[in-house]
């Protein structure tokens, strides 16, 4: 995988802007509006003293002063309100983006190739990607500094034009001094960059421990095994590490600020002296009034401030962007659709593995080593083997979640890669070993096309499969019946379901889907013996006409299958009926006997 190759700051920024544009176009207008409102407040305040001083010098009458003051106040009031209004809009859009971006991220996760999801590196990248957004607040930080950056930029342009019209040379001097001040901060920027880079992983680890400490999954361990102590020590360890790094930043920042103060002092010295001299005489240029004196002194100060504002916000934004790099690295993983075929599959006659070899990406172990087998319509196949023998891998290959490294999988003789993915997947129905139900209603979990296709009433069919898996009574007892939500995190009136009930719903779901090939990977692991045998018997009935692949550690389940595919060391050790296999000396018989022994005397 190419995940190691980092993306550049520039690309990150480009992707960020594109993403925001896609999620909320209005944001950009509000951003500009809010920045203009902020800048105009600053600039307007510069002019107030000048106007009043000029009034003084021109000898305004009392009523003229009153009118001028009231007019200025009114204008200021309007500007203040504009800022308040735009500030609120900006805050609303920022917070909405903060919610929308993680969903955009989820969309990406849902649309990339499945193989990525089993790659530990991608999982790691995912965590690094989303942490800065959800926990660290890098996005909000970036958006906030964007406004301040733009506002400072607008201020600079206006103020610079005031200064230039006063004296281009003086403007140049102020500019040069400000630039020197910033150049002297370069060391700070470097330290900041280094520390930030060092801090990102430390922050993330600290975040892991903090998140884990308050997450539900380990609470029993903390209490029973007293593991809260090791957690507390880890958290403190990283706290100290973070503290030391940050301390470095702030010491350097203090020094940098002091150097900047020196240069600001020099700038002010030049400003005050020069501007005062211009008021004094026309020796250095056209003589100016006291009103001009106040505005130019103010403008020079604003210029410096705004310039620093531009640079500092750039640094903050740059920092936030570097935090967001993993996020966009993840977002640039290509979508699945890009390699889907076009053919439409016909109902299953044969499914064949032809010299299929497979290793998981980035691993050396060959999980499937040149295996070939063929199953026919209506057959029930059981796949048997030790842990990690590659049973579930076969399922994943059939579902096109992974592609074979070599060899082909043929559906009625056609390589499955040539089929349109959606059309192909419609032919399959699975209960995965680690199946997941969705946090929606029971109905939607069983008829998974219900919400998407906005179908007509499907109650009858849903109730029928619930009946088949022995859940009708339990669901009927719920106030919301089949429209009960299955997860309380989203809908407070949801119900809790036990592991066994969930497994039955997963089975119901796989029956409901009118598929040609049914694959069941450990579908009864969470079921008690009665429920299990019930499922076995019903399955025989329900899948009578369908082709079925069955995987289970409970060897009894393989008896009702037509043939058993015995996987051993990545190869097919046998592919035969239960009766035949029990006659020979093989792993299947050993496994079966081991378990059966316990059920006999």
């Amino acid at each position: 995988m190419s995940n190691k190759s980092e993306i550049t700051i520039g690309k990150t920024l480009r992707m960020l802007l594109t993403l925001i544009w896609k999620l909320d176009k209005a944001y950009f207008f509000i951003l500009v509006f809010a920045s203009l409102a902020t800048a105009s407040n600053t600039i307007f305040n510069l002019f107030i003293p000048k106007i009043l001083i000029n009034g003084f010098e021109w000898g305004w009458k009392a009523d003229e002063f009153v009118i001028a003051i009231l007019a200025l106040a009114a204008a200021k009031y309007v500007l203040l309100q504009l800022r308040a209004f735009s500030g609120r809009q900006e805050s609303i859009h920022q917070h909405l983006l903060q919610e929308k971006v993680p969903m955009a991220f989820a969309k990406k996760v849902m649309s990339i190739d499945y193989a990525n999801l089993e790659d530990a590196k991608v999982l790691d990248l995912k965590e690094r990607a989303i942490f800065p957004v959800t926990t660290y607040g890098a996005l909000l930080q970036l958006l906030s500094s964007a406004v301040e950056f733009l506002a400072s930029l607008f201020t600079i342009t206006t103020v610079a034009s005031i200064l230039v019209s006063f004296s281009p040379l003086f403007t140049l001097a102020v500019f040069v001094l400000t630039v020197i001040a910033l150049l002297l901060s370069a060391r700070f920027m470097k330290v900041m960059k280094d520390v930030t880079e060092n801090l990102i992983p430390i922050n993330r680890r600290y975040g892991y421990y903090i998140e884990t400490a308050s997450a539900p999954s380990f609470q029993k361990d903390y209490r029973i095994y007293g593991m809260h102590q090791v957690m507390t020590r880890k958290i403190n360890e990283y706290t100290n590490e973070i503290y030391n790094w940050l301390n470095n930043i702030y010491v350097v920042q203090g020094n940098t600020d002091s150097i900047q103060a020196l240069l600001t002092g020099i700038t002010r010295f030049i400003t005050y002296s020069y501007v005062a001299l211009r008021v004094l005489s026309s020796r250095f240029g056209m003589q100016i009034t006291l009103g001009d004196f106040s505005i130019i002194v103010g403008a020079a100060e604003s210029f410096g401030n705004a310039f620093r504002g531009v640079v500092m916000n750039l640094i903050t934004a740059g920092q936030a962007v570097s935090y967001l790099k993993p996020f966009f690295q993840f977002m640039s993983i290509p979508d699945t659709a890009e390699k889907s075929g076009t053919a439409k599959p016909e109902p299953l006659q044969t499914l064949a593995f032809e010299n299929v070899t497979f290793s998981y990406p980035n691993t050396d172990r060959i999980v499937l080593d040149n295996i070939s087998f063929e199953i026919h319509r209506g057959e029930k196949i059981s796949i048997v083997g030790l842990n990690n023998a590659g049973k579930s891998t076969i399922v994943k290959l059939i579902c096109r979640l992974f592609e074979p490294d070599s060899g082909r999988i043929l559906w009625n003789g056609t390589d499955i890669r040539q089929f349109d993915y959606d059309a192909y997947i419609d032919m399959l129905s699975c209960v995965f070993q680690d199946f997941q139900l969705f946090p929606f209603t029971v109905r939607e979990n069983i008829d998974t096309e219900y919400a998407r296709l906005n179908q007509a009433d499907n109650s009858e069919g849903v109730w029928k499969v619930l009946d088949d898996v022995g859940l009708r009574a339990a669901i009927e007892a719920l106030p919301g019946k089949i429209d009960t939500y299955m997860d309380k995190s989203l809908y407070e009136d949801a119900s809790d379901f036990s592991g066994g009930q969930k497994q039955k719903i997963a089975i119901a779901r796989s029956i409901y889907k009118k598929a040609d090939l049914v694959i069941l990977d450990e579908p009864t692991a969470a079921l008690d013996p009665l429920a299990e045998s019930e499922v076995y018997e019903h399955f025989n009935e329900l899948t009578r006409s369908k082709t079925t692949i069955f995987i289970s550690h409970r060897m009894s389940s393989s008896i009702f299958c037509d043939r058993i595919l015995l996987l051993q060391d990545g190869r097919i050790a046998a592919f035969d009926s239960h009766e035949n296999l029990m006659k020979g000396d093989n792993l299947y018989r050993e496994l079966f006997e081991t378990q059966a022994r316990n059920y006999r005397n």
Binding site: Y209, S217, R233, A261, D434, R452, L530, Y599
Partner: protein, 632 residues
């Protein structure tokens, strides 16, 4: 122990917070019993700070240096304009004045910048220490509290206070540090302007009062609505988190559910938007008053100055100086008012956070101890239980006695209450009615930690923490007995795998902390968890909840064979759906409908015409029909 039979005797029963804090109002009452005033909160916040002389001295010096700065700008304008107005104004004097000003400016700015930055991380550290204390609360509070989502919702208010350095606790520290300077400036400039006219200072004070009241009103408004907004945000975040959870990967694709997740997102984001708009509406509505109060300072002071001009009471130099003073005063007073409002608003959350930090969330109490050494006996006496906040009765007048050293198997259909029973025995929950007795002593009179220390539990779903393998086995990072770790890994059947790792038992687990971290399969994690239960020296009872569900028949058999050794000298409770696997146990207990319906040895139970026989037949019929020779 003779006292245990009569629960009436006063021997310090533990409370049952999980039940006590179910009610929303009671919870509020318990968590936020004391209404903190601003002074209380500040006192709490500054208790550690005031002990540190360096920080106090730095704050004072900062206040003086930063406080003088705005005044310098006023004076330099005044001096320059006065010099300019003189007939014999010379360039040298102007330049000298500007030079002195620039030097003073540099000095004050540098001093304040140094102090502010050098003490910045001091306050950041305080915040992190607060946060760590909260984490400890989470990891030790009653388990039942942790399983109550409403309680967690209430408790999560600390996040608002401690998650960043711009607001909440740390923000308040920084702001108060800066406010010292603002206060000095405001007083000095106010004093200067009072000399001219009291009206300007008065309008300034009026502004501060109006601004503070408005902001306080907004802050209280937000504080009240925050919970609702937070809940909306949490929902949207939860959904995004779920939708991007890799565990859905396969089913999401096979059943094409991606669209449904997106569809679910729209109403959530709309609800959040609506709440957020309401949340910020008051701010906008009241901003009209704030702006009015702000321009009132301008109007008053400009009118005062203009009237002086009109009366020829001020020179132009004074006018320019005063104008500058008014501008700087307005800025300062605005900062000051904002600071006050900020402190008021943020300390409300600090107060809430202190409440969570200081709350007693562990049902402490009980002076009794578990007598004897070696395996313990467990008795459940007339135990009934329903989860706090739920009406479903899980266990009903249940009686069960497990003698010390017995290997007891617990079986039953799905939802019979097996896992709940484990939570009661291990003290994670307290029974609604009845008693749990450990070696004859009522568990409710024994300190919680002591109960926890008795059990080695292998839970149904197991995951390691991002620690090393040894640390995961030892459940600690100190005083690890390495030989024992290896011994336990061998017993659990994981040594073969671990010994092949380059770093052996010191291999870090998961990829969170180290890129080369070890990721184990589900079955291997289960073995690791068995090793951890074995490692614990004080374990007097082992409890295993489906410990072999993820293992193949051979691996399972191997563990069973070793169970005798693994469990020697311990009481054991073993939960499994695979009935055959319970045969190595001394006794089998069948739980159904919240009660014990059958108990006895495997052979005894098979002879009874009951649920056990039914379950066993169901599970074994395929094996038997095959051989045709199996006997019941």
């Amino acid at each position: 122990m003779q006292t245990q039979t009569s629960p009436k005797q006063n021997i310090g029963y533990r409370r049952n917070l999980a039940v006590e804090l179910l009610d929303k109002d009671k919870r509020k009452q318990y968590l936020h019993a004391k209404k903190h005033g601003l002074p209380d909160i500040l006192k709490y916040m500054y208790r550690p700070v005031l002990k540190d002389c360096k920080v106090v001295a730095a704050s004072i010096v900062y206040a003086l240096a930063a406080g003088v700065l705005p005044l310098l700008s006023v004076f330099i304008v005044e001096i320059l304009v006065r010099l300019l107005m003189q007939n014999d104004a010379s360039p040298e004097r102007l330049i000298t004045a500007a030079g002195i000003y620039a030097a003073a400016f540099f000095l004050c700015t540098a001093i304040s910048a140094q102090l502010k930055n050098r003490f910045y991380s001091y306050f950041m550290r305080l915040r992190i220490l607060f946060m760590n204390r909260i984490m400890e609360q989470y990891m030790t509070m009653d388990y039942g509290l942790f399983e109550n989502p409403s309680f967690l919702d209430d408790a999560s208010i600390w996040q608002r206070c401690l998650y960043n350095n711009a607001n909440g606790l740390e923000g308040t520290y920084h702001r108060i540090f800066e406010m010292g300077g603002t206060l000095v400036s405001a007083v000095l400039l106010g004093g200067l302007l009072i000399l001219v006219s009291p009206w300007i200072a008065l309008s300034g004070i009026l502004f501060v009062i109006v601004f503070y009241l408005v902001q306080k009103n907004i802050a209280v408004y937000k504080h009240e609505r925050r919970e609702e907004l937070q809940r909306a945000a949490r929902r949207s975040q939860w959904l995004s988190g779920e939708a991007s959870d890799f565990r859905y990967g396969k089913d999401m694709r096979l059943f094409k559910m991606a669209g449904r997740f997106e569809q679910a997102f729209h109403p959530l984001i709309r609800a959040y938007e609506k709440l957020y708009k309401a949340f910020t509406r008051r701010e906008l509505q009241l901003s009209f008053i704030e702006s009015a109060a702000l321009i009132l300072i301008d109007i008053v002071s400009f009118l005062v100055l203009a009237s002086k001009v009109h009366a020829n009471a001020v020179s132009i130099a004074e006018f320019v100086m005063l104008l500058t003073a008014v501008t700087v005063f307005t800025q300062t007073i605005q900062l000051f008012a904002q600071g006050l409002a900020f402190i008021k608003s943020e300390t409300m959350y600090v107060g809430d956070t202190i409440d969570i930090m200081e709350a007693d969330l562990v049902s402490t109490g009980g002076e009794n101890h578990v007598p004897g050494s070696g395996p313990v006996s467990i008795e459940l006496r007339d135990v009934s239980f329903h989860y706090p906040g739920s009406d479903t009765i899980v266990l009903e007048h249940l009686n069960l006695y497990i003698p010390a050293g017995e290997k007891c198997a617990l079986v039953g259909v799905n939802g019979a209450g097996k896992t709940t029973l484990v939570k009661l025995i291990t003290g994670l929950y307290q029974p609604t009615e009845g008693q749990v007795l450990i070696n004859g002593v009522d568990a409710a009179t024994i300190p919680q930690e002591e109960i926890f220390s008795l059990f080695g539990v292998v839970f149904q779903e197991v995951q390691p923490l991002a620690l090393t393998i040894a640390e995961n086995v030892a459940a600690s990072d100190t005083g690890i007995d390495r030989d024992r770790v290896i011994e336990c890994l061998k017993q659990a059947g994981l040594w073969e795998k671990v010994s092949k790792l380059p770093k052996g038992i010191d291999s870090p687990m998961l990829k969170v902390i180290q890129d080369d971290g070890v990721v184990l399969s589900g079955g291997e994690n289960q073995k690791l968890s068995i090793a951890r239960a074995l490692y614990r020296e004080g374990t007097r009872m082992m409890i295993m909840d489906e410990p072999t569900a993820a293992l193949d028949a051979l691996a399972e058999e191997k563990i069973y064979r070793e169970f005798d050794e693994i469990l020697s000298g311990k009481t054991a409770l073993f939960i499994s759906h695979r009935l055959a696997s319970t045969r190595f146990c001394d006794r089998i207990v069948l739980l159904d409908g919240g009660r014990i319906v059958q108990q006895g040895t495997h052979e005894e139970l098979l002879k009874e015409d009951g649920l056990y026989q039914k379950m066993f037949t169901a599970q074994s019929k395929y094996y038997r029909s095959e051989e045709g020779e199996a006997t019941a």
